[in-house]
Amino acid sequence: MIKHFAIVAALTLCANSAYAQIAGLDAPAKQAYVVYAAEPQVVPAGKPGTLELHFRVVQGFHVNSHTPKSELLIPTTLTLQPAGGVKAGALQFPAGKPYSFSYDPSEKLDVYAGDFTVKLPVVAAAGEHALDASLRYQACDNAACYPPRNLPVKVLFTAK
């Protein structure tokens, strides 16, 4: 698991620096605050199964959970592209953890920090599948916030 994240993080860094070189100084690479660990998964063919999408918030940051306590905050969401042979159920997001800024301990936010897993129930026809998805999140550290980002995700799995 850790290895997966390390690979993803290394690839992200490489991609970022390659992007920075191409784009030059005008468009510095956008830092990613969440990484996705792609792990090949297996579900039973033609029967209900559950895919687990493992994410990690980069250390030192947090993102709003799927259900932040204020309607004015941007929740973490996942949009899924339809794919042939796969019937996707409702996404299941984990509960967030309380977080407050030290300058105002009274206001509690609901956030993900460290690892979090989104579950996706599926019924898939036998064979290899690839689902395209996008995780939208908005990150902060303990003093500042960063604009919302979209993280492209490819979920690879086999139904057999």
Binding site: A27, P28, Q59, G60, F61, H62, L72, L73, I74, F101, S102, Y103, D104, E107, L109, A113, Q138, C140, D141, N142, A143, A144, C145, Y146, P147, P148
Partner: protein, 204 residues
Amino acid sequence: MRKVFLLLAMAAGIALVAWSGWQNWHQSRRAAQAQQAKRVDLIPDASSSATDPSEAESPLRGKPAPAFTLIDLSGKKVSLSDFKGHPLVLNFWGTYCAPCKLEMPWLEEFSKKYASTGLEVVGVTYDSEVGAKTITQNTEKLGVTYPILLSDPTIEKAYLSDSEVLPMSFYVDKAGTVIEVTAGLGAKDELEARVKEAIAAGDQ
């Protein structure tokens, strides 16, 4: 005998090279450590408690504040020149930014407390694409009455130079010079100290 002398000389030479190499490494390490100590982390570590806002590295510090013309929530044009001769706090914030919303009521308080000095506080909404209605919902909830402007790429390029950190504040004195730039939320009394500096500066 000569051989022994030669060997000794060689050993001494090697020792000298090794020693100077070590000295060099030691010195550069010390320099790196000193550099490290001076470094201000914009992104504090999760385990540390909240730090004071970094005095952000900004090419604008000590320079005249770049001119801008933006629209406010009612669609009226507002320019930097409208605040000529006034100390000004230009605060970039976003509706998604919780720490911004912690300091905005403080800015509101100081805008009233120091109104007699001519202090002006202006908020610039970074995520202006959410629309005036959502922005007003936020500012009303926060009790903010100072002018709120909608950001555009021109002011972002001039002031933020591609940084996306919020909140970000620019303290401008009466003479129109940027005297301080901060990124991130800090303590309320430190914010007030910077406001006072902006009021006191640029008198001559």
